[in-house]
């Protein structure tokens, strides 16, 4: 049923307000957006510009105060909690800034945690191989470096073969060298599995690897730029 030309995500007039009365804060102010299938999108912007809020809403973790979000042909904003859980379970992979691995499970088991409940997963070994960690699969998080932990997190996110991969500051806690290894893993997944990928960062350098760059400020998309010649992560520097 997949329609290659139909965007992976479509958002209309997304507004998100936190608090009420005097303490009202606008996190998003009427965002319209289309994310084509298989693209690598980088969301740039300073703290508080609304990029995390946008990603949370697209990922089914949060709901907008106003507006609609469509994933394929379904309206996410009409889902209840149970449906949102199923949506995340079947279609979405998340990578967090601080990895959020389960310390009591090995690398392999952290990935298996997700593949056990997915409908069409790759094997955990395969996922770990994709991020170059085939030799470390039986190590616990405490025995892995930060970069390795983040690559386990990526393997965990993509092992279920999600339609979309959301990465919130995936290199934020890493040095540049390690960060590039992690970005290579993300780029490889995007390329080889054709996974629509959205990466949040405030590091403008990373934008060079994206197909599309969204510049956010004050809860609005200031600029949407298509990068005709995305470069390899190994060519990046910051």
């Amino acid at each position: 049923m997949e329609d290659q030309d139909y965007p992976a995500f479509r958002a209309e007039g997304l507004t998100k307000i936190y608090g009420s009365g005097d303490t009202r804060v606008y996190a998003l102010r009427g965002v319209d957006l289309e994310v084509p299938r298989g693209e690598m999108v980088v969301l740039l912007g300073p703290s508080g510009s609304g990029k995390s809020t946008l990603l949370n809403i697209l990922g089914g973790l949060d709901s907008p105060t106003e507006g609609h979000v469509y994933f394929d042909h379904q309206e996410l904003t009409a889902f209840d909690d149970q449906h949102l859980t199923r949506f995340r379970r079947e279609h979405v992979g998340f990578v967090f800034q601080f990895y959020n691995l389960i310390p009591s499970l090995t690398a392999l088991e952290n990935v298996a945690l997700v593949t056990e409940i997915a409908s069409n997963p790759m094997s955990p070994e395969q996922a770990l191989e994709l991020v170059g960690l085939e030799k470390r699969i039986h190590h616990f998080p405490a025995q892995l470096s930060g970069g390795e932990q983040q690559r386990v997190a990526i393997a965990r996110a993509i092992a279920k073969q999600p339609n979309v991969l959301f990465c919130d500051e995936p290199t934020g806690a890493l040095d540049s060298k390690t960060g590039i290894v992690v970005l290579e893993a993300i780029a490889r997944v995007n390329r080889e599995l054709n996974t629509t990928t959205m990466v949040i960062t405030h590091n403008a350098g990373i934008a060079e690897m994206a197909d599309r760059v969204l510049q956010m400020a004050d809860g609005q998309i200031q600029e949407s730029r298509v990068n005709e010649t995305p470069c390899e992560p190994s060519a990046l520097s910051w």
């Binding site: 949060d62 601080f98 409940i117 996110a157």
Partner: protein, 796 residues
């Protein structure tokens, strides 16, 4: 005043304290309640113990309760001077005391009672009475009597009412002039019974001359009562009294320790002391453990804040004091809850005691040191429980504290654990590894839950044990429906007369004689009960509850009596008979049998009569009665002059059950409540701590698409597993606690068997499991509301 306003008055660190406490209010309250239960139990038992003891002492003092009672068969009044002259006697008086059968309007069954003489006004100096209502009798009117308050209340008797009594074979109509209390009958119980039955045991007081006349004791007495001087050697005085009164048929003088009412009262005070010694420390131990876990965890989460405070220049002591204040506040809230609870329970208990113990007054008034001990001991226990956490606060280096702790390392899991790991799913592996990673905490949780279950069993088993004891006593040992005591021993042929009474199907004779038993320094004033060789009604049984036939020769002793005399089978025991020709012989102990009540010695009836050199006399009979004809039998017994006392098994059993339901039932209810609170306290605190430790982990699993149920399983599955492990431990702890209680309640009056029914184990397990489920649901609500967005950004 709103919170925001008063909080401004506090220093910043104290504001943090208030807000921190507010944020853990559920857990803090759970801990405070556990402390409160322990302290409440302590205040109640200690306060009641002191109140009872003080009330008793004041009562005895004011109404001059005799130190020694010396019963005789008949002695001339002139002997009083000789008794008074004995060294150690401060004052002595003589009186007449006898058993009577009472007949009160509206009561079908005959009632056993006692009647005592009183001097014409003024009242006696020793064993004075408290006139509750009505007036003292008029010495001119021989039919006027005073009646014990409890009995009057049970039969709604008032001054001016009448009742009948068989006095030495003659039925008399008596008029009540006053209702009284007496220090001799604080616990008004018929000899040989275990619970008081206000309806079935009555005491009357009558003018001395009238009673002397009725019992052919003109110019004579049958009991001397003595107040001793301070510092008197009571044993020596009793010896002298026995020597002096030997000629007059003395059955043996005895002190307060053998006086039945005082024995029960002392027993109750000892039980309160045991409860106060065993149970509160268990509660406080659990509270200490909870504080240890909660405060320890709080300090872990506040590492960086601690480092920051130290970096700003707060001293180690100032930071440690901050946490000590938090512990202190929780503890003191617990103590306040406990004191209020203890006062409330104590007042209730005092009301309940008023039903059993007839004091002119009984106020529940704990002495001030009870409160001081409560506060001091709670703070001490809390301090010990949290010492290691507070020490960790002191030792944290600011620079290290401000760096987040390294992630927990799960790589060194046990090999056995890894072997089973492939067989279980990832969430179950998380559970197993988490338990393995923090074995001490898991062990403490198991122990805490186990303790709550143990406490439940320890509290509830007494009901099983009592029921078992009653069942054995009434259905295996004493199987008769009615016991009849004659005024004087009669020839064995009298059994034929008894058999002819209406409704009597079987009659079995017995003979009871007063004796003094001596084995070296161990001396006991007891009764020997002579029975037929193989009795069918009043039986004796071994430890397996099989009937034991009585040997032709020798004595069979109750196990408790053998223990008190420190004597075993095959040993010789000195027996001094205190009736008839008063022979003194050495008899062999030919067996020891199981008894739960009293300390009796048994002999073959014929052997007993041979010993007394009397020809087959009996002092009463056990009867089996046709249930349809009991009323006719009762009517006949009420009018039989030779009968001095009648005891009815069914009514005794019912009285026992009623007492059990009233007193023990309440006790079990509160203990169940307390133990349930402990279980909730332990499980809830653990679940909350796990949740705060692992909230981020669980929230990221939710983000990854695990459902609420799947995430809850990881946290609550662990608690469920620990609860399951705790159940057998709880059963074991319960058994041990029950054994400890059985041991400490082992007295001459009665012994509680260590019997715990399956349903008690089941009930305790059920309460624990339900408490765990309740706590689980409380925490589950929080899991459902985990902040999924925060985890994406926050660092541990």
């Amino acid at each position: 005043m709103s919170r925001a306003m008063w909080i401004d008055w506090l220093r910043p660190l104290d504001r943090k304290l208030v807000r921190d406490l507010w944020s853990i209010k559920g857990q803090a309250l759970a801990i405070a309640v556990v402390i409160g239960c322990g302290i409440g139990m302590y205040v109640m038992s200690k306060g009641m113990l002191v109140s009872l003891a003080e009330t008793r002492n004041a009562y005895y003092e004011r109404y001059r309760f005799a130190n020694i009672v010396a019963p005789v068969k008949r002695a001339p009044n002139a002997l009083l001077d000789e008794i008074t002259a004995l060294p150690g006697v401060r004052r002595a008086e003589t009186r007449i005391r006898a058993g009577v059968i009472l007949d009160v309007a509206g009561a079908a069954a005959p009632i056993t009672g006692e009647i005592q003489s009183l001097p014409p006004f003024p009242q006696p100096h020793i064993n004075d009475i408290v006139l509750h209502s009505g007036r003292y009798f008029d010495p001119q009117h021989e039919e006027e009597v005073l009646v014990l308050d409890a009995f009057a209340e049970a039969h709604q008797l008032e001054p001016g009412d009448h009742l009948y009594a068989i006095l030495n074979g003659t039925k008399k109509r008596l008029t009540i002039t006053g209702i009284v209390l007496s220090p001799e009958y604080v616990y008004a119980i018929s000899p040989g019974e275990i619970v008081p039955d206000k309806k079935r045991f009555g005491v009357l007081w009558m003018n001395r001359d009238g009673l002397a006349h009725a019992f052919d004791l003109d110019g004579a007495f049958n009991e001397a009562v003595i107040l001793t001087s301070a510092g008197t050697d009571e044993d020596a005085l009793i010896q002298r009294l026995d020597n002096l009164l030997k000629r007059y048929g003395a059955t043996g003088a005895y002190g307060r320790d053998q006086q039945i009412s005082d024995q029960f009262l002392t027993n109750e005070i000892n039980q309160l002391e045991t409860i106060g010694r065993i149970l509160p420390p268990i509660f406080l131990l659990v509270a200490a453990f909870l504080l240890n876990v909660v405060v320890g965890r709080l300090i872990d989460t506040e590492r960086e804040q601690i480092g920051l405070l130290k970096a700003f220049g707060y001293s180690n002591a100032a930071v440690a004091t901050h946490y000590l204040k938090m512990i202190g506040v929780i503890t003191l809230v617990g103590v306040v809850i406990g004191i209020l609870l203890g006062l409330w329970l104590g007042r209730g208990l005092a009301n309940m005691y008023q039903d059993f113990f007839k004091f002119p007054f009984l106020l529940f008034r704990p002495p001030p040191d009870v409160y001081l001990v409560s506060i001091g001991f709670s703070l001490l226990v809390a301090g010990v429980g949290t010492a290691s956490s507070v020490r960790r606060v002191m030792q944290l280096e600011p620079a290290i504290a401000m760096v987040p702790p390294p992630p927990p390392d799960y790589s060194r899991a046990a090999r056995w654990l890894e072997r089973i790991a492939p067989w279980v799913d990832q969430p179950s592996r998380m559970i197993l590894r988490h338990i393995y990673r923090w074995p001490k905490r898991a062990a403490m949780t198991v122990l805490g839950i186990g303790m709550s279950m143990g406490l439940l069993i320890g509290a509830s088993f007494s009901m099983d044990a009592m029921m078992f004891m009653v069942d054995i006593s009434f259905n295996v040992i004493d199987r008769q429906d009615v016991t009849v005591n004659f005024v004087e021993p009669r020839n064995k042929r009298a059994i034929q007369d008894v058999l002819h009474a209406p409704g009597v199907m079987t009659a079995e004779p017995f003979r009871a004689i007063p004796v003094v038993l001596r084995n070296g320094p161990n001396v006991r004033r007891e009764a020997i009960l002579g029975l037929e060789a193989e009795p069918d009604l009043g039986r004796i049984v071994d430890t397996e509850f099989r009937p034991v036939p009585l040997p032709e020769q020798g004595l069979i002793l109750s196990d408790k009596l053998a223990e008190l005399l420190e004597i075993g089978t095959g040993d010789l025991l000195r027996v001094e008979v205190r009736t008839g020709r008063r022979p003194e012989v050495d008899l062999m102990v030919s067996g020891i049998v199981k008894t739960y009540m009293g300390t009796t010695a048994y002999m073959h009836l014929d052997a007993l009569n041979r010993l007394l050199k009397e020809d087959s006399a009996i002092s009463g009979a056990y009867l089996l009665v046709d249930p349809d004809k009991t009323d006719a039998l009762y009517e006949s017994l009420k009018n039989t002059p030779v009968v001095a006392g009648v005891s009815l098994q069914e009514q005794a059993q019912n009285a026992f059950y009623e007492t059990l339901q009233d007193s023990l039932g309440t006790f079990v209810f509160f203990n169940t409540l307390f133990a349930g609170l402990i279980a909730v306290g332990v499980v809830y605190n653990n679940a909350r701590i796990s949740l705060s430790e692992r909230g981020r982990e669980l929230a990221s699993l939710r983000v990854l698409g695990l459902t609420r149920g799947e995430v809850s399983y990881i946290l609550l599955g662990e608690l469920a597993l620990l609860t399951l492990i705790a159940l057998p431990l709880g059963a074991l702890l319960g058994y041990l606690l029950a054994a400890l209680l059985v041991h400490s309640f082992d007295t001459e009056l009665f012994r509680i068997p260590l019997v715990i029914s399956d349903s008690t184990y089941g009930y305790a397990a059920l309460v624990v499991v339900l408490s765990a489920i309740g706590s689980g649901l409380l925490v589950r609500r929080r899991i459902d509301h985990l902040d999924l967005i925060a985890v994406l950004k926050t660092r541990e």
